[in-house]
């Protein structure tokens, strides 16, 4: 299907290119036939002789507008189709990579940057390749006609058009691409300095440091501008080159034309055509400058997209997966090591964990100690680099990753809330759920008091990233989703992070209450009341160690626990 639609996209682009070429040729033809008409008129012929060129002039005038209309329609249609195809193929790849393979892109700005980079691949076709194709076809026809009138002028036009078409992009490429590469990190520094200034505005103001931070931003902006100066000089040179090429063509064609008329090789009536045709052709080619300026930016975009989409799969799916295991879902982790990058350091090394069905274990530890990595491995988002994880006795690398995730669910910090309604966000977890089931899940997540007051009820839009909900409500909605999906095993990964103290305390209690009876792994850096879980483990140096004074499992060493 992809090949089929790709071929159709190609046909639409070709249609847009053909229409664009005819529009450009009409534009040049209008000036050339007008020049001929005026020159011929100066010889005072009978008016009847001028009817054909008069009609041609008008036909070119009308044709140009209509072909332009056709080009625009076909071009936009093709662009939107290509956009859909690009997005679908990028999505296919991202779907395999996420979340471990795209971990470096967790922050919102980086994801939106990636998405706009993917969209920029469409611009390559429309804003660079199409104008160049049109220019090439138009240039070839124009040069052929010129060469038929006078070979020397044809050659001049061919060379000058080539200089205009290639000079600007080469300069943009040599200077602009370098500048663009240096710009990206500088732009990042500017954004970081700005973000520090604005997010830390209170601290800066109280601790008398605003002026310095503002100076940092100004300096970062000046650094960006300095590099842009190079692009501006490249642009200026590009403009100069294309103006020079046009001027040289004009001058040489006039000189050759005059000489041709003198020697009798060229009829005098054609002289104006020889001079004015390069004028019109170069006007068209001067439009390539902006197209060429897009090249460095689009190349950087394409390189960044390729960098992400070309990463290795974080999870290798087994060729013939084992059948999905049956309850009880005991989980055993032994000697587990895991890393995010193939050549990076192990975040976990030699971690052991025994989580029997129905038990609740808390894993604590400082940020960066590998708590989330552990969750990623258990959810089969990341392959272990050593050691094993078994689910109900089956090694999870022998299982289809989707089968593992139908048993083990996740309620994470900053769970994604889709910009849709409450209902759609919930039904994600179980598409066939009835309203009664949705309301029951909300009530177990202690959201129904609030949801019942909403005039639109379940059809209430939640806003982008759930912006219309409070932080606590977002996490409770994420919990309701997990309850609705009815996972036998639930991983709660820092569910109360980014909430104020009071809300966090209330939420953690409610989370544990709502998941009562399920197997729970609570990942947190907050102190955990020992009464709420069976065991508290601490993750440091890539290993899990018991924290004393925990519940009844605390005395049992994982390796001694019988199956």
């Amino acid at each position: 299907m992809t090949t089929y639609s790709r071929a159709r996209d190609g046909r639409r682009l070709a249609l847009a290119g053909a229409a664009g070429t005819l529009a450009a040729l009409s534009s040049i033809g209008l000036l050339a036939t007008s020049a001929w008409l005026i020159s011929r008129s100066a010889q005072h012929p009978p008016v009847l002789y001028l009817m054909v060129p008069v009609a041609a002039v008008q036909a070119f005038g009308i044709g140009r507008s209509f072909f332009r209309y056709a080009e625009r329609l076909a071009g936009h249609d093709a662009a939107l189709r290509i956009l859909a195809r690009m997005r679908m193929s990028a999505y296919d790849r991202l779907e395999r990579l996420a979340p471990a393979g795209t971990a470096a892109f967790r922050s919102g700005d980086l994801i939106s940057r990636l998405v706009s980079d993917i969209d920029a691949t469409t611009d390559r076709w429309l804003r660079v390749r199409l104008p160049y194709a049109v220019a090439l076809a138009t240039g070839a026809v124009t040069v052929a006609v010129m060469a038929a009138l006078q070979p020397a002028s044809g050659l001049v036009l061919a060379l000058s058009l080539a200089a205009a078409a290639l000079g600007a992009p080469l300069l943009a490429d040599v200077i602009g691409y370098q500048a663009e590469r240096r710009l990206s990190p500088l732009r990042g520094e500017l954004a970081a300095a700005t973000s520090d200034l604005l997010n830390g505005a209170g601290e800066l103001s109280v601790f008398s440091s605003s002026a310095g931070a503002l100076r940092d931003v100004t300096a970062a902006g000046a650094a960006v501008t300095r590099v842009q100066a190079r692009s501006a000089y490249a642009r200026g040179l590009g403009m100069a080159v294309s103006t020079l090429a046009a001027g040289a063509a004009l001058w040489l064609c006039l000189a050759f034309g005059v000489e041709g008329v003198r020697s009798g090789a060229v009829p005098g009536v054609v002289l104006a055509v020889l001079v004015l045709t390069p004028l019109a052709a170069h006007e068209l080619f001067s439009g390539l400058g902006p197209a060429a300026q897009e090249i460095p930016r689009l190349r950087s975009s394409a390189a960044r997209v390729g960098d992400v989409l070309g990463r290795p799969d974080p999870v290798r799916e087994p060729a013939s997966p084992m059948p999905p295991p049956a309850a009880p879902y005991d989980i055993r982790v032994s000697g587990l090591a895991a890393r995010w990058e193939a050549d990076g350091p192990d975040v976990l090394s030699g971690a052991d964990l025994w989580l029997p069905a129905g038990h609740r274990i808390a894993v604590t530890g400082p940020s960066g100690s590998g708590k989330t990595t552990l969750a990623m491995v258990l959810l089969r988002f990341l392959d272990p680099s050593a050691g094993t994880v078994t689910l109900a006795g089956t090694d999870i690398t022998e299982l289809d990753s989707a089968a593992v995730r139908s048993v083990i669910g996740l309620c994470e910090q900053d769970a994604h809330i889709f910009d849709s309604t409450l209902r759609e966000n919930l039904r994600l977890a179980r598409p066939a759920a009835t309203d009664a089931e949705l309301r029951d899940a909300l009530s177990r997540a202690r959201l129904s008091d609030w949801a019942d007051t909403l005039p639109a009820g379940l059809d209430t839009p939640v806003g982008e990233h759930g912006a219309r909900l409070s932080g606590g409500q977002r996490q409770r909605l994420a919990l309701a989703r997990v309850l609705l999906a009815d996972f036998p095993v639930v991983i709660l990964d820092e569910p109360a992070e980014h909430l104020d103290e009071e809300t966090a305390d209330a939420l953690t209690g409610d989370l544990l209450a709502a998941t009562a009876g399920r197997t729970v792994l609570l990942i947190t850096h907050r102190p955990v009341p020992a009464a709420q879980v069976d065991q508290v483990l601490r993750l440091t140096g890539g290993r899990l160690a018991e924290v004393p004074s925990a519940g009844h499992l605390g005395t049992k060493r994982p390796d001694l626990q019988p199956f």
């Binding site: 001028l50 939107l80 779907e95 520090d196 200034l197 209170g202 440091s209 931003v217 842009q228 977890a429």
Partner: protein, 556 residues
């Protein structure tokens, strides 16, 4: 949107010179176009009808070469001048609006705004490049060239000038019409694309969540379907919208064709010389070109202008009122019936709050979420202004004090402290850049910050530290300058009991040293060390207001 916003030059004075240079270069370009047309007409006519040779045309050819060299120089200088104009405007707008945003304070910046403003300071302001590099030069040419061309053609061939003069106004008239239609279309298309990108972005951001629920594979088809639907809807509007620009193009090209035919017939009947006829033909398209290009570039520049307007709006936002008297090192802070009304929320938080905070005492502000504890701390810092009531510092109204000197009396730990990229020690030194290492280490110890080496690098937004560690770094930062007032919002949140005890010991010592220590907290252990507990209550009106909150429908 206006094609040129004079406020740009008002707020970016250093851009005046380069913008003037862009205009002068535009005028020079117009002059060169006229002279070039004249020389071409001269040369062709002389060779065709007069049989002139290259030698006879030497003067024309030399002059033409000079004109062409001039055009090359103008084209190059034009790019440089528009870059300079753009760079000057960007730098000044960015600095001015950020300075004003900081002056307006963290409360004004709260929420999404800081992210939006970061985008405005970077991509938003950068989009002005398109305006200065592409649109403004064409706009200036569009104002100069048609008039000059019309005058020149009018002197040579009045009839051709009449043709141009009759159709030329149609270009802006149709342009305005087209602008209206394509404006609405561009708006629509932009919105459609924005919704599309937003949907794709939402799905990609939510990919991990979709995978958890086994729903990620379904979304591929949804992306294709949604894009397809928008394509069909957009193409329907495009067919109509492009018709109007078709008419505009027809006017421009057909009038050139009319001039050619008119000139041709005048030549046949001997009313006109070839030289004049060629001049009219070469110049006629030039009259329309800048107008058409300006219209074509308008949308490329719209983003930059919109960003500039947003920045100027912030620059023109009046700063919060500030007094001028120097603040004393206070002994007593008194809140008298302080209420704050929040826009978009009925109900005040705090509501009618009165209390007395004395040096040498720990005062704890207690109360449920939404009762206004953090707002009260902001009022005491001058980040928020009371809607009613006042705050007295040693009997002197806070509103009359100079904010800068007042804030330099206060050590502050906000609810979510912000750490800057750099070392932990650099973060602690924020208020005291010259503090010796020993003082920094002592402040860190007092804040129970033993588990983090002071040389540890903190990345963006406190990355590398837990939220409890961030809070203790912020506490050490507040303690280091030894200021007479400490305002602490939940300073022990996320701390284990042992660390919490040590922090509370420190705060007792700070109070004993004669400082005013004010803590917003809800933990019983913090309340236990208080000399005074002041409770805030939720305003009655607010509770019922929350239930009538209205939600707008999103049109999708």
């Amino acid at each position: 949107m206006k094609p040129f916003d004079p406020r740009l030059l008002k707020h970016a004075r250093r851009a005046r010179l380069p913008v003037a240079a862009v205009a002068v270069l535009g005028a020079a370009a117009a002059g060169l176009i006229i002279v070039q047309a004249q020389l071409l007409a001269d040369g062709i006519a002389a060779a065709f009808t007069g049989g002139a040779t290259l030698g006879a045309l030497r003067g024309v050819l030399l002059a033409l070469a000079a004109v062409l060299a001039g055009r090359v120089a103008v084209a190059w200088a034009g790019e440089i001048a528009s870059y300079r104009a753009s760079a000057a405007v960007k730098a000044e707008l960015r600095r001015s609006f950020l300075a004003r945003a900081v002056e307006l304070g963290p409360r004004w910046l709260a929420g999404r705004r800081s992210a939006e403003l970061t985008a405005l300071a970077t991509e938003g302001v950068e989009a002005l490049d398109g305006y200065f590099a592409k649109y403004l030069p064409q706009l200036i040419l569009a104002a100069i060239v048609p008039v000059v061309v019309l005058v020149r053609v009018g002197l040579a061939d009045p009839l051709a000038a009449v043709t141009i003069a009759a159709t030329l106004p149609l270009v802006p008239v149709f342009g305005a019409l087209v602008g209206k239609m394509t404006g609405a279309y561009a708006e629509q298309r932009w919105r459609a694309l924005a919704v599309l990108s937003h949907h794709f972005l939402d799905v990609v951001s939510g990919l991990p969540t979709l995978k958890v629920f086994g729903r990620s594979k379904d979304q591929r088809a949804v992306i294709g379907r949604v894009t397809g639907e928008y394509r069909r809807a957009t193409m329907d509007t495009l067919r109509v919208a492009f018709l109007s620009s078709l008419v505009l193009e027809l006017v421009a090209t057909m009038s050139v064709a009319l001039v050619a035919v008119e000139v041709g017939l005048s030549l046949v009947y001997g009313h006109l010389g070839l030289r004049t006829g060629l001049l009219a033909l070469i110049l006629a398209p030039e009259a329309y070109l800048p107008l058409r290009q300006a219209a074509a570039q308008f949308h490329a520049s719209a983003d930059g202008l919109a960003a500039a307007a947003a920045a100027i709006e912030i620059i023109e936002t009046p700063p919060p009122p500030a007094g001028e008297r120097r603040a004393p090192a206070p002994r007593v802070i008194r809140a008298e019936a302080v209420s704050v009304v929040h826009p978009g929320r009925s109900g005040r938080a705090p509501a009618n709050f009165s209390a007395l905070f004395r040096a040498g005492e720990i005062s704890v502000l207690a109360g449920p979420s939404g009762s206004g504890k953090s707002t009260l701390v902001d009022v005491l810092l001058g980040f928020a202004q009371p809607s009613a009531g006042r705050v007295l510092v040693d009997g002197d109204d806070l509103a009359g004090l100079d904010c800068e000197t007042w804030r330099s009396q206060v050590g502050w730990v906000p609810q979510q402290p912000y750490l800057f990229p750099g070392t932990v020690a650099a973060n602690i030194r924020l208020g005291c850049p010259g503090a010796p290492d020993a003082a920094v280490a002592a402040a860190a110890r007092a804040a129970a910050l033993d588990d983090v080496p002071l040389g540890r690098l903190v990345t963006e937004r406190g990355g590398g530290l837990s939220s409890g560690q961030c809070r203790r770094v912020a506490l050490a930062r507040a303690l280091l300058p030894g200021r007479p007032v400490l305002l602490l919002d939940e300073p022990t949140a996320g701390l284990d009991p042992e660390a919490e005890d040590r922090v509370l010991d420190t705060l007792r010592a700070q109070a004993a040293a004669g400082r005013i220590v004010l803590i917003a907290a809800h933990h019983p252990r913090v309340i236990a060390v208080a000399d005074q507990v002041v409770r805030l209550t939720v305003d009655e009106v607010q509770a019922s207001a929350a239930q009538t909150a209205r939600y707008e429908e999103i049109p999708v």
